[in-house]
């Protein structure tokens, strides 16, 4: 259904997310860090990005600023799927619209079914 860039630093979790998204018919390009994810963007723009903010070296917000500078990627919707808890002071909502963040999902309280449901909804809305 959709081409998805998954930025997930943990291999075990990435396997589960990939499997669930594959099962729902999506193509998943999984990367563990911002640098390698940017090289994927050089090849093709995904239809949706699922992003963990806690990444090694460059964090998720830095990746987003860089991604938004790519002409092909300036409107790609982003789902923050992160270990950063909703109460974290650094998780200000002010910069979300600017960076095209459509959804925030707190990873410890989001099931695979919920993630797939949000992804399906966003990709369908984008296609319409």
């Amino acid at each position: 259904m959709a081409s998805i860039l998954l930025l997930e630093p943990d291999k075990q979790l990435a396997k589960s997310y990939q499997a669930a998204l594959h099962k729902a018919g999506h193509t998943v390009h999984w990367q563990t860090n911002a640098q390698s994810a940017l090289t994927v963007l050089d090849d093709h723009a995904p239809q949706l990005v699922i992003l963990e903010l806690h990444l090694a070296n460059h964090n998720g917000v830095e990746f987003l600023y860089e991604m938004r500078s790519y002409p092909d990627c300036d409107h790609v919707p982003v789902v923050l799927h992160t270990m950063v808890e909703p109460e974290h002071p650094g998780l200000g909502h002010d910069f979300w619209p600017q960076l095209g963040i459509q959804e925030y999902l707190y990873k410890p309280r989001t099931t695979l079914a919920q993630l797939v449901e949000r992804v399906n909804r966003l990709t369908l809305a984008q296609a319409a």
Partner: protein, 228 residues
């Protein structure tokens, strides 16, 4: 040992516990998601519950560190519904009938929404797992009083009284079964809830609802909205 040295020890222990709790989140999350993928509902539920406890502990520590918690007008009925939804699969696992009881209409109450929901889920999960009944009942309820909105969780489980609860609070962190009359477990969800509610300047108390005993707290009604 001087008081300042003991205080330094407490701070160091808190940091160590917080670091351990953070570290535990990842493997628990891995187990929960792998179990979900493999349709192993029981394992998923157990891992999710453990993850929930760890996460709630971290939330309560974070909130307690804040000098003052920002309270906002919260629709208590909607928080009860969300908490019931979170507890639903655990209740099914324990063959527990889960009900919502929201009597009458009332104004929003002043609370920290996430802390209130976490407290209610903590109370619910502790009371569900404590029950020895074959078909236990759990009611998440709210009603209005002169003092504000009372929200709580009530159960058909025996053994809960104000004396048991008070003794539990004094033994919490020292004894393995601080509320032995109620549960064979640690009752951690109850104590996490008590801490979260105290961070909202509300006190958890033993209360009754439709012949069931439970734990509830009174939240102040939102004065700002009452003026409209």
């Amino acid at each position: 040992m001087s008081r300042s040295v003991r205080r330094a020890d407490v701070v160091s222990n808190d940091r160590l516990l917080a670091a351990l709790a953070e570290e535990l989140k990842l493997p628990l999350l891995q187990i929960a998601r792998q179990a979900e993928l493999a349709n192993q509902a029981d394992i998923e539920m157990s891992a999710s519950q453990a993850l929930w406890f760890v996460d709630s502990y971290l939330l309560s520590q974070q909130l307690l560190q804040q000098s003052s918690l920002e309270l906002e007008p919260v629709a208590v009925s909607s928080v009860l519904q969300d908490a019931a939804q979170t507890l639903d699969s655990l209740a099914k696992q324990y063959n527990c009938g889960l009900e919502l009881s929201i009597s009458g209409r009332f104004m929003p109450a002043m609370a920290h929404r996430q802390a209130l929901e976490t407290a209610l889920v903590g109370l619910g999960s502790s009371l569900i797992t404590a029950s020895q009944d074959k078909k236990p009942r759990l009611i998440l309820a709210a009603h209005r009083t002169q003092g504000g909105v009372v929200a709580g969780v009530f159960s058909s489980t025996d053994g809960l009284s104000q004396a048991v609860f008070q003794r539990g609070l004094s033994l919490y962190g020292k004894a393995r079964q601080p509320m032995q009359e109620l549960t064979s477990h640690t009752g951690a969800g109850i104590f996490v809830a008590a801490e979260l509610l105290s961070s909202m300047e509300s006190i958890l108390r033993v209360a009754k609802h439709h012949k069931l005993t439970g734990l509830a707290a009174t939240l102040q009604q939102s004065r700002q909205l009452a003026l409209i």
